[in-house]
Symmetry: C2
Subunit: 681 residues, 2 copies
């Protein structure tokens, strides 16, 4: 089929060959690490937070720790079961945002989106802060400089993501499996020592915890319940990231939903096992752990600790004790924990622009974010995310404990709305579904989601009560700001769409075309613009020259005559060297003289390659085009002339288009990029 | 004459009615203050610098001060006489840059331009620093915070100039005349007291100056000569700004050159009178003045001064003593001196963009600077100037004495090249001139310029010897940087021009036009773009739609059919929502299939008014246009559709165009802006 052959309309584009597509999709063994880093990494800080909260009442309160661990595990099990339903019902990868929007409406959807945006920022801040703490455990010199180190890490992640890295399954697989092996291995070894009766004590075992002011003596029931609630809601940080798989269903191999659900179950079991093992071991090994900003509550034999004492993270303490005869074991555990935390932060860098593009498609974010490969849009998102995370890290001095206070509320807002949405989903489908087997399955799913909702609603209430003043209000404020901005953008788009809706009068065709070609000099670009303009056979064609200098004008007129171009040249007088206004005024006058015609302004432009060359050229053309946009009935045509140096820019552009965007892997989009978007026939 | 009547070419534009033009030109009594502030304001710091240099050898060296004053006055007289010749020979207002370029070639011209650019920065830094010193004399609280105050003043000036102020003659006239009256009145009153024998002593009269290390005891002849040379070259700061009138000849009433020359003479006489009066009075009143950073060399009765002692500027000390019975007199003198210094700094804000536009016309600066009313270009220049001045003020802690070391070398570089150029000018004209009267005048002019050259050359050598290590090297380095950049820009433009030069093959006309209209939705902008494209009657016309979502595609196809547009729609498949690449590839393919044709891409754009609305629209169009520029044989047409809110932007733009640019007054361009650049017939 020739290109000119357009007498009939053709729908172009083939289905991607499934073999080709299959290559890019993830088997479960790879999908697990790809989506697990976020959820598993929270094992690195969630138990610590439980111990910190309980320590307010002294080490005696640690007897509650494993009960709180079980409560968190129960909630996590409920959430995992719930999301298995979501994965089956919404295999498109829209996740919580889609579930809330479809079932609860736009307001709920936007609320979830706000919560997710805030969560991405906090994922980066919390994971990197916790990672910095682990780094300080292994490298003493970093102690006290955690905030600086964390900031540098965020900047490095930002740079990597701006640059674009080709993520692969193995990129995630190795460190994630290493983390699982290291932590589970450490726990198993510890359990073995426990069974053998020679479990060593951690470094903080001999310390004594002074209760915090107000927690001395025996607690009232209310105070105890509130303390446990606080510890529980801090421990709920372990649930962050569980929902990630529901956004990634399209990246799974077929049967996508089944595989995703299985992976989710696996993930939940591993996470629960790890968390419980760490809590149990820490208890058995005599851990004493307080808020890092409250280190003076730790005493040794009634004496305060030496200044500069550094409290290591729980997993680091356990690893050091368990592997006391085998230091490489300690370093391995700490290293892989640090790496998994960085990977978890990286998932936010992946997810943020992806969510942005979904929001853009729905009109809640600038449309430009919605089309792939918009480098600027992606870059802005990544820089924004890094910038916000750094602000949080600096404001909270990279203290995980204080950042956690902000973290969990956003996660549970989206959990809740998502569960509520799923219940509505099943109820709606039950109305039309006849098949009793299917109905029974749906009722069961609805029951699971309802249980999930109850659990997550209770947690949300607890989190709101215990954490609001401790920092959750910041999260809620940020969510409101995001919410208002998104609604404003959507309202704007709606207004514009209403104003743009076509009606019948818009089919009127202009009666004549008056073309003017801007002439600055008689060089190749001008001649090309004249030729192109002539080729469109307008009713009137003329060159237009803005004259400031009589000498230059005379020279140009003479050259124009000599070249015998067959096109008249109009000279506009501009004694003060203004270029834009005379041309705009002239175009408007032509239009006024012939209101049903259209004015076509041809602007010769030359295309250069280097950024500083671009500053030296076409600035006036740019300004002129900007101004002419406001002139009704005028269209502006750029006729480019490519200079040799433009080749540089073209090559740069090609490289840019071939680059991988953050999050591609999770959306099943690591195919052969050069094949994409091509016209096939 | 109808607009359509273009069968013959017409040179549009009338001569501005001279009555209208005359209104904007300056009579001598207004021109003097407009151009004098820079030159006169140096009286506020030049005598101080002479005293500071001499003070190195103790107060006894002050006997040399009036002799140095006479030497400076002689040089100034020579320079004034020389520039009177320039004003007659080059009435176009190009000033030193034009003189050097025309007579000595591009290298000399660029050198002068570099010197002038550096001088503008230093004018701001020196004037504002000196003004801060005067402000501290009057307001004790500012003492010690001069650098901060000066920085704020620069920022205020920058803001005013960015905003644009309508300068008028009276804007300059009042403060400049007030300055003259105040200083000359003060001096006359002092002279009267001197004659009456009751001249009071200044506040520093009782102090003793310890000679600087190395200057104690009797000086060797060489050391004395070097000291006097240093004092003389510092005093030469009084000459800065004298050349301003030569840039402003076009702003004078007719006979322009005569009036400008007379004004220059007047200016020189006033400046010399002021400077000499101040030096004589200071000597008679027992002034003791040292470098502000060397205050510990001042002693009172053998005791060091109390900490926090503030040394006031020379004019401030004289005014306080002379008007000891009349404090308002003191405050008036200090206030008008401060104001005139700010006005002097403002001239740099005016001159910098004007010089930029002249350089742009010659290809030494980005072309965009050459057309008037380019807000961005002007703004960038103003911000750049303020930024550089602030760096200098902060680096030198707003100490006038140290900034002066950088100042004078640039001024005298341009003085020298200008004088040399003038000598060449007269020599060249003498070759062809026959009329003996004219020849005699020319020989006389050449003699004057030769004398000027000798004087300024001697000063330049002295300045280079005495100031190179003290800071002049910074100026020279900056000049070299400006020089290299300007030459680089010019070379780039030359290369581009060579590449663009038209030859015969460029007249070939494309054989056919294949037009494609981008369709995203079927709304008014798309329909307008289709109608406009149809009006150009291309050989092939089709709509092009990039399909990502099958549902939306089906909807659009149906609507397209229903509307019965008579144009085929091509659907490009893009599974990953890429928009730009499919379209670019398609355009390139059309072009490849028909190499002698041209592809016209029509892009519907809607025009909104607010900046944040612009972020929400047309980003993809922008990116697409950027990409298509690199595709040979493709032209890109924007078809704008103006939304209601675009009215806001149009009105803002109108306001912007009506705004006065810095430096308008000095170029005789304060006419009725709305009349400019209009098409007249």
């Amino acid at each position: 089929m020739g290109v000119g052959d357009v007498s009939k309309r053709i729908l172009l584009g083939r289905k991607l060959r499934s073999s080709q597509l299959g290559e890019t999709l993830l088997p479960k063994r790879i999908a697990l690490p790809v989506f697990a880093s976020d959820a598993l990494s929270s094992v690195a800080y969630a138990p610590d937070e439980v111990f910190i909260m309980l320590s307010l009442a002294g080490a005696s309160a640690y007897v509650w720790s494993w009960k709180i661990g079980i409560a968190v595990a129960l909630v996590m099990a409920a959430v995992v079961m719930s999301y298995r339903q979501t994965v089956h019902a919404y295999p498109s990868g829209g996740g919580d945002y889609e579930v809330a929007t479809v079932n609860l409406g736009a307001t709920a959807g936007t609320t979830v989106a706000s919560a997710l945006l805030v969560d991405y920022v906090l994922t980066v801040a919390v994971s990197i802060s916790s990672g910095a703490q682990y780094a300080a455990s292994a490298i003493g010199a970093l102690s006290g400089h955690e905030a600086t180190f964390a900031t540098i890490m965020v900047l490095v992640l930002m740079a990597i993501n701006l640059r674009g890295i080709r993520e692969s399954g193995t990129f995630f697989a190795f460190p994630t499996y290493a983390f699982m092996v290291a932590i589970l291995g450490m726990c198993a070894f510890g359990m073995f020592q426990l069974a053998a009766g020679d479990l060593p004590q951690v470094e903080s075992a001999d310390l004594h915890i002074d209760p915090a002011p107000g927690y001395g003596g025996s607690l009232t029931t209310f105070a105890l319940v509130f303390l446990l609630a606080r510890a529980f809601s801090s421990g709920s940080a372990a649930l962050t990231g569980v929902e990630a798989i529901s956004n990634g269903v399209p990246a799974f191999r077929k049967p996508k939903s089944r595989n995703a659900a299985t992976t989710l179950l696996l993930l939940g079991m591993i996470a629960i096992t790890m968390m419980m093992s760490v809590i149990v071991l820490a208890n058995q090994m005599g851990l004493k752990y307080v808020d890092p900003s409250d280190l003076d509550r730790l005493t040794l034999d009634g004496q305060p600790l030496p200044p500069g004492y550094d409290q290591h993270a729980v997993i680091a303490q356990i690893a050091r004790a368990v592997f006391s005869d085998f230091p490489p074991g300690f370093y391995l555990v700490v290293t892989v924990t640090g790496v998994i935390l960085v990977l978890a932060a990286n998932t936010a860098f992946n997810g943020f622009p992806v969510l942005g593009s979904i929001l853009a498609q729905d009109g809640y974010a600038p449309r430009a974010l919605g089309s792939r490969g918009d480098r600027l849009a992606y870059s802005n998102g990544i820089v924004f995310l890094a910038f916000m995370a750094i602000i949080l890290i600096q404001a909270f001095n990279a203290e995980t404990t204080r950042l956690i206070q902000l973290y969990i509320v956003g996660v549970f807002v989206s959990f809740n709305l998502s569960q509520l949405g799923m219940i509505r989903h099943w109820t709606r489908h039950l109305k039309s579904e006849q098949d009793p087997t299917v109905r029974r399955r749906m009722v069961r799913s609805r029951m699971i989601n309802a249980v999930g909702l109850v659990f997550t609603a209770v947690v949300l209430v607890i989190v709101l009560i215990t954490k609001f003043l401790a920092g959750a209000w910041i999260t809620i404020l940020a969510m409101i700001i995001f919410f208002v901005i998104m609604r404003g953008i959507r309202r704007h788009y709606d207004n514009v769409n209403a104003e743009l809706a076509a009606d019948e009068e818009d089919k009127v065709m202009p009666t004549r075309v008056h073309a003017i070609v801007l002439v600055g000099k008689l060089h190749k670009p001008t001649l090309r613009a004249l030729a192109f303009a002539k080729a469109t056979r307008p009713n009137v064609l003329e060159g237009v020259y803005v004259a400031a200098d009589p000498e230059a004008t005379a020279r140009l007129l003479q050259e124009w005559d000599e070249r015998n171009l067959g096109v008249p040249l109009k000279v506009l007088h501009s004694p003060y060297r203004e270029l834009v206004k005379p041309i705009v005024d002239y175009a408007m006058e032509i239009k006024k003289a012939n209101p049903r015609g259209v004015v076509a302004v041809y602007i010769p432009e030359y295309v250069v390659g280097r950024w500083w060359e671009q500053l030296l050229h076409n600035q006036t053309a740019l300004r002129l085009k900007g101004r002419l946009l406001f002139a009704p009935g005028v269209m502006v045509t750029s006729v480019p002339y490519q200079l040799r140096s433009s080749q540089i820019a073209r090559e740069r552009e090609e490289r840019e288009l071939a680059r991988v965007r953050p999050g591609d892997l999770r959306r099943g989009q690591v195919g052969d990029r050069s094949k994409r978007g091509q016209i096939n026939r």
